[in-house]
């Protein structure tokens, strides 16, 4: 097991190197740079100063020199400076990461809280009216794009009813560390978290429903019934445990969304997190931020797959990692 994990981590190194080359090349391939939009349009800026400024920032060095400089920084935990924000990228991310993890964790937890009961009900009582309603709910949430649904929620609960704040992650008037600060955070979280959770339940519900329907006709369930196991225990001990396996496997991948955040949710709700930063940084050609974020989510994906394998081997005795 330990050997397996170690080997997987070692394999990640070449994967990350390839990823870094691709990210760097793609980022450089974007037309324009951070200075073009900000300064070049200013009447005070002449071509000479712009050229000198670029030289000073190293933007005119050959690409491979820039790449190795960036890589060297990365290895030292230095992701460069954000030209737009004039702060180190690491510092810029730290503040936002907290918000993103908070929002993503809320989305994940809510999504499972909604999806698991619905999936169980619709799988256990197939073709009942409850099942038909769940399937109907699934069709609707699957067909609704997140950005439409989130906007609709924002409009109804934020603007029309005014129950929840419409942007930000916390009320600026409350003091950090107090109870009202915490409540304000929660209050800002509710609307985006629910919007994200409701739209992301589909896959879990559908998986769970299909798994339960498949599992409940399996022979070992008949064996359990033949032993005199009560109906509720047939479900909890035999059917559900087996049906949760694929869901458990997804848990590892969820960590990716935990760090990567949701571009749509954060943009629509003006929530200062990673997703929102990512989108604005692309628009402003803030290369160091973009490359850092893609690198991080790439790493998270690799760790996520490894985590999925570990979780699966922990819950399913048939899968043993050697």
């Amino acid at each position: 097991m330990l050997k397996f994990i170690l080997r997987r981590i070692l394999i990640m190194i070449p994967q990350l190197i390839i990823l870094s080359v691709l990210i760097f090349a793609l980022a450089k391939a974007m037309p324009g740079d951070a200075l073009t939009g900000q300064l070049a349009s200013s009447p005070k800026m002449d071509a000479q100063t712009l050229h000198e400024l670029k030289q000073k920032l190293g933007m005119l060095d050959p690409p491979y020199v820039q790449y190795f400089r960036w890589l060297k920084g990365l290895l030292h935990g230095d992701m460069g400076m954000s030209i737009i924000h004039q702060t180190p990228v690491t510092q810029l991310l730290a503040g936002r990461m907290e918000n993103t993890i908070l929002l993503s964790a809320a989305v994940l937890i809510l999504s499972y809280l909604i999806a698991i009961p619905l999936g169980i009900v619709s799988g256990r009582w197939t073709d009942s009216w409850a099942d038909k309603m769940v399937v109907g709910y699934n069709y609707i949430t699957f067909a609704t794009p997140l950005f439409i649904f989130a906007l609709l929620m924002l409009f109804i609960f934020g603007f029309v009813l005014g129950w929840f704040p419409t942007s930000g992650s916390v009320d600026i008037r409350v003091e950090n560390g107090t109870f009202s600060y915490f409540m304000s955070k929660v209050n800002h979280l509710i609307l985006p978290a629910f919007s994200g959770a409701i739209i992301s339940t589909t896959v879990t519900i559908q998986y769970l429903r299909t798994e339960i329907i498949d599992t409940k006709i399996k022979d070992f369930v008949k064996t359990a019934r033949a032993k005199g196991v009560s109906e509720s225990n047939v479900y909890t001990r035999h059917i559900l445990r087996n049906s949760f396996l694929p869901i458990a496997a997804f848990l590892g991948y969820d960590i990716v969304s935990l760090i990567g955040g949701s571009v749509f949710l954060e943009s629509i709700y003006g929530y200062p997190g990673i997703g929102q930063l990512f989108i604005t940084s692309i628009a402003q050609r803030d290369f160091s931020v973009v490359t850092a974020l893609v690198m991080i989510s790439g790493l998270a994906t690799l760790v996520g797959t490894l985590l999925s394998d570990i979780i699966l081997s922990a819950v399913d005795p048939r899968i043993r990692i050697e």
């Binding site: 399996k218 022979d219 070992f220 008949k222 064996t223 359990a224 019934r225 033949a226 032993k227 005199g228 196991v229 009560s230 109906e231 001990r237 035999h238 445990r241 087996n242 819950v315 399913d316 005795p317 048939r318």
Partner: protein
């Protein structure tokens, strides 16, 4: 041999719903299993053997199945029991061994836990007592290292070992009847013999009644005290094992016995029964159901409404067509 009737089926009929109609997969089956007796139920695939077993256990899918008649056990009609009452009978008084040991065990539970599970419901054993009993059971079904197997998951065992565990699960609470639904079909030949020997041995030791469902006549000859031959949901012949093999009467029984390949006649073609068991929907509801597969016989030789009749003491045959039956090649 005790002759107390243990389980009595009376005119049992099991019908499945297909679209909006019900079709009987088990029709008018009456059968008694006595204490300490092995009753074999033989027939081709699709003749209703497994459906019969599941009917006794009440394990058919609810809402899609209609059960009529009586399954009398311990003075109660099992068909009239609620699920909760039936759960107290299943596993405790009647144990069941399933066909495919590869799928009959929960892949996520250790063998030990699966054996203990029925004790949880039917006994007041403590954890330690359950474990002790489980180890004892594993030993009695011939598991070489009970302590290890107790902790193993099903996938870590071979098919034969798993079937032994399945048997241990079925007999965990000392049921008075065990229903074995083709217990050796999924195993290879050498293992089949071992499992059959084990069943026989356990049956002798615990004095259990066994309903053995099989299509293997060799197994029947070796194991059974009485044999019921089923065709298309009905019992067509019922007799003790010696009578059945020495003096088979019903054309279907004779065809079955005739299909056993012989080692003495070399290079002879195998005998086959032409055609297949009609599907549930196309089953002839009137007259002899075997008629279509012995087309060389005249219609008037069949009974119009065949019933299971005692033609000699304890030997029952359905339909009169047996009287003049002969194989076409004998003509």
């Amino acid at each position: 041999m005790g002759n107390q009737p243990l389980l009595q089926l009376k005119n049992l009929r099991t019908s499945f719903r297909i679209q909006d109609d019900y079709f009987a997969a088990v029709d008018d089956v009456s059968l008694t299993v006595n204490e300490n007796e092995v009753v074999a139920i033989v027939g081709e695939s699709g003749c209703g053997k497994s459906a019969l077993a599941l009917s006794i256990m009440g394990l058919h899918q609810e809402g899609r199945t209609k059960l009529e008649g009586n399954v009398n056990f311990n003075g109660r009609n099992l068909l009239s029991l609620s699920t909760g009452e039936m759960n107290k009978v299943r596993g405790k008084d009647i144990g069941m061994i399933f066909q495919d040991p590869l799928t009959a065990l929960n892949p996520l539970m250790t063998c030990g836990k699966q054996i203990e599970e029925s004790m949880t419901y039917h006994t007041s054993f403590t954890g330690g007592e359950k474990k002790e009993r489980a180890l004892e059971l594993l030993k009695s079904v011939g598991i070489p290292n009970p302590g290890r197997t107790y902790k193993q998951y099903p996938h870590e065992l071979s098919g034969g070992m798993r079937q032994r565990v399945v048997i241990a699960v079925a007999i965990a609470c000392n049921p008075s009847i065990v229903i074995a639904d083709e217990p050796t079909t999924a195993l290879d030949v050498t293992i089949q013999a071992q499992i059959m020997d084990l069943l026989k041995e356990l049956q002798k030791k615990n004095e259990t009644g066994i309903i053995l469902i099989t299509h293997d006549l060799g197994v029947v000859a070796e194991m059974a005290d009485r044999v019921a031959v089923m065709y298309a949901g009905e019992i067509v012949e019922l007799a003790d094992v010696h009578t059945l093999f020495e003096n088979p009467l019903h054309p279907y029984t004779r065809s079955l016995l005739n299909s056993i390949p012989s080692t003495t006649d070399e290079k002879e073609r195998l005998h086959v029964i032409q055609g297949v068991v009609p599907s549930l929907k196309n089953l002839p509801r009137k007259g002899c159901r075997f008629k279509n597969r012995i087309e060389w016989m005249d219609d008037h030789e069949h009974e119009e409404n065949p019933v299971l009749r005692e033609v000699e003491p304890d030997h029952f045959v359905r339909c009169t067509c047996y009287k003049n039956f002969h194989f076409p090649e004998e003509k």
